[in-house]
């Protein structure tokens, strides 16, 4: 009798010991690596919202963690640290993390990696990005309609294809309603530097721009526009609260759906390496409410957005001419994805030069 009790107790103990770690291991650890601070209220902030959304959507099933302000030159260690601390799924959210992600992925074949905005994949590395240029095309239309001075200021970060295609889409949108529109571009060579961004905004306003748009992550340009009584577009997140009188709309990156979907796939064991490039239709690119504009412009913006969703409108619908007048996309055709992904030329009408 006694021996049965002890055996039973022993078995229970064994079960308890075995179940403890097993339950902990069942929980999927999801790590995020950000290039900026989570408080940038832009790109990294928006990614962090998706981390929080994930924790809320799958409570008990996932555990999330992040590293912020990771310099690109120092990112391999940060990514490896996450992999070593038991993460089963890791989002590396900046282009510059591409090679380090692949290197670490090779060392940890069972860990799944999701790299934002890159183009190299592996068996356990997926890539994802959003068609921001669709949102920029809508913004271009709004700016073309609203600019009184006929000059729009553009604060740009780095001349990579994502940024260049954004500038082109914006310009094509603006030209479609005002063929004479002028675009002034300032390259600030940073993703996040409120000081530099504000300086650039002031310079552009001083040069006669009455609408600003940006491909950098802080709300500083928007605030400069607000102070000067001019208009501007937000970036990455809805920045209305920073500039309630200036923000026209904002191109919001909504990663929530994607992040949750990928975590689910890992939990279900159905995760596969793939490339994902979603736009307005997929809910990855969201336009914040159209504000500070008359109803007819609002209607045009709404109509353009719906057109893109329905596939009636494509920002790079031919004919698209390059700066030198040569044809990039023939009439009746649309730019194929690889062309947009590798864009290193400006459309006609942009008065700026790209290093080749």
């Amino acid at each position: 009798m006694g021996s049965i009790v002890t055996r039973l107790a022993g078995a229970l103990l064994c079960a308890a010991v075995a179940a403890g770690p097993a339950r902990a291991a069942d929980k999927l650890k999801v790590g995020f690596v950000y290039v900026g601070p989570v408080a940038d209220y832009g790109y990294s902030y928006q990614h962090d919202l998706s981390r929080k959304a994930l924790a809320e959507a799958l409570p008990g099933a996932v555990e999330t963690t992040f590293l912020e302000n990771v310099p690109e030159a120092d990112s391999e260690r940060a990514i490896e640290k996450l992999a070593r601390s038991g993460a089963g799924l890791i989002f590396t959210t900046s282009f510059g993390f591409m090679e380090p992600t692949l290197k670490v992925a090779k060392k940890f074949p069972t860990v799944k990696f999701e790299h934002a905005t890159g183009y190299k994949r592996a068996g356990n590395v997926s890539t994802y990005s959003a068609r921001f240029y669709e949102g920029r095309y809508v913004c271009g239309k709004i700016a073309g309609k609203l600019s009184k001075s006929g000059t729009v200021g553009y604060i740009a970060s780095f001349p990579i294809p994502e940024v260049v295609s954004g500038i082109n889409a914006f310009m094509l949108g603006a030209q479609s309603v005002n063929p004479d529109i002028k675009l002034k571009i300032v390259w600030v060579n940073t993703w996040f530097d409120p000081g530099k961004e504000a300086e650039a905004a002031k310079a552009l306003l001083a040069q006669g721009a009455d609408i600003l748009t940006q491909h950098t992550d802080s709300a500083a340009p928007l605030q400069e526009a607000e102070k000067a009584g001019k208009l501007a577009f937000g970036q990455s997140s809805d920045q209305y609260r920073f500039a309630p009188k200036a923000q026209l709309t904002s191109i919001v990156d909504d990663w929530n759906g994607y992040v949750i979907q990928e975590a689910r796939a890992v939990l279900d064991g159905t995760w596969k390496s793939h490339d994902s490039w979603g736009g307005i239709k997929d809910g990855m690119v969201v336009l914040a409410p159209f504000t500070n504009m008359p109803d007819d412009v609002k209607a045009l913006a709404e109509e353009t957005k719906q057109g893109i969703v329905a596939g009636r409108i494509h920002p790079f619908e031919g004919p698209v001419l390059k700066q030198d007048g040569s044809v990039a996309v023939k009439a009746g055709e649309r730019a194929p994805d690889p062309m947009i992904l590798g864009m290193n030329w400006y459309v006609k009408g942009i008065d700026d030069r790209l290093t080749q």
């Binding site: 790590g31 590293l67 310099p71 391999e76 601390s85 282009f95 090679e99 060579n189 992904l341 290093t355």
Partner: protein, 363 residues
């Protein structure tokens, strides 16, 4: 009431050694209070910051990899700072070294024939580029009397933007979708790993040899004596016939060369290609390391290890304890402030002067 700092008649050797340790202890205590205020048990945070990184082979390698460039650059800077010359531009000299050495690797990419020359050529090019880049502020100072603090700092941005231009233009990978980066270097252009499958590479050894050499030069040669004399007493140095101009060029060459070498070691070691950003601020952090190490090579080595340790421990704290990165940075700043403050207290004692009027001493 006023506080006066009066020079101590006698410097205690024991106090000299004890001061940084006490400063470290004070920093840990203050850091502990901050951690507790954030709702994390201080003991646990201490383990994550300072013990966990030393308890795994992997993270030990990471500490060494992070400390090596810091120590190498800081040792070079120590020559400048000891001679009262303020080279703030090691970051630029590092980038110049990485760019020049990386250029050799890109030029040799895919070449047929012997490859044994590539790596030495890269290291040489990197070191020479660092020296050449440091010569600009040095010559401007010697010839025209321009402040080397300003020129060396401003040249950092020039070097960064030059690298940026090169990886977007001439050195861009033709198959890279126009993204700003060079081709990945061939194996012959990479520093070999010290252990297969691990991350420690030969750059760490190069760094150690460099620091050892610098220590010998500083303590055992006439030149080292000259550097120390000029720093301690410029007038005496002039009476001894030491030339200001020659010394300026020499210490800038040493610090530039060390930074350039660190740059190419990082590019040929860890990174393996040229990209717009090849430094997480090593050239600036090295200034902190140089002073934390009191401008002596063994102290610098120790300081570099401490900074590397807190950086890597800080990542662990972000992941495991959800402590913000800002805390790590605040702690590193706190540590520097306390070490420098402790140094002042070993050399001076504080006298409280009631009322303050008419008191003597250093105001």
């Amino acid at each position: 009431m006023r506080l006066d700092l009066l020079p101590r008649a006698r410097r205690s050797r024991r106090l000299d050694l004890l001061a940084p340790a006490l400063a470290f202890l004070a920093a840990v205590l203050i850091g502990g209070i901050a951690v507790a205020a954030l709702g994390v048990p201080p003991g646990q945070a201490f383990l994550t910051y300072f013990v966990a990184p030393l308890s795994e082979v992997w993270s030990l390698q990471e500490v060494a990899l992070k400390a090596a460039p810091l120590a190498l650059i800081a040792t070079g800077l120590a020559f400048c700072y000891r001679a009262n010359l303020w080279n703030i531009g090691a970051e630029g000299q590092y980038v110049a070294g990485g760019l020049a050495g990386g250029w050799v690797a890109v030029a040799a990419h895919g070449s047929q024939g012997p490859t044994a020359w590539i790596l030495p050529a890269m290291l040489l090019a990197g070191t020479c580029a660092g020296i050449a880049y440091a010569m600009i502020p040095a010559l401007l100072r010697v010839r025209l009397g321009v402040s080397e603090i300003l020129t060396s700092l401003m040249l950092v941005y020039v070097a960064q933007l030059l690298l940026d231009y090169m990886v977007r233009g001439p050195l861009r990978d033709p198959q890279g979708y126009n993204f700003p980066q060079s081709v990945s270097f061939d194996d012959a252009a990479r520093l070999p790993l010290l252990m297969a499958g691990e991350s420690l590479h030969a750059g760490v050894l190069i760094g150690l040899v460099g620091i050892g050499l610098a220590a010998l030069v500083l303590t055992r040669t006439l030149f080292g004596f000259e550097v120390r004399t000029v720093g301690a007493s410029p007038r005496a140095a002039r009476f001894a016939g030491f030339s200001d101009a020659r010394l300026t060029l020499a210490v800038f060459a040493i610090s530039g060369g060390a930074a350039g070498l660190a740059g190419i070691c990082e590019v040929a070691g860890r990174i393996g290609q040229l990209q717009p950003e090849i430094s997480p601020g090593y050239g600036f952090t090295a200034i902190i390391v140089a002073f934390l190490g009191r401008l002596s090579p063994p102290g610098i080595l120790l300081a570099a290890l401490v900074i590397a340790l807190t950086t890597i421990g800080g990542e662990g704290a972000q992941i495991d304890l959800k402590l913000p990165l800002d805390l790590t940075r605040a702690f590193q700043g706190l540590l520097l402030g306390l070490v420098l403050g402790a140094d002042v207290l070993t050399r001076y004692h504080v006298r409280i002067v009631p009322g303050g009027a008419g008191a003597k001493g250093i105001p």
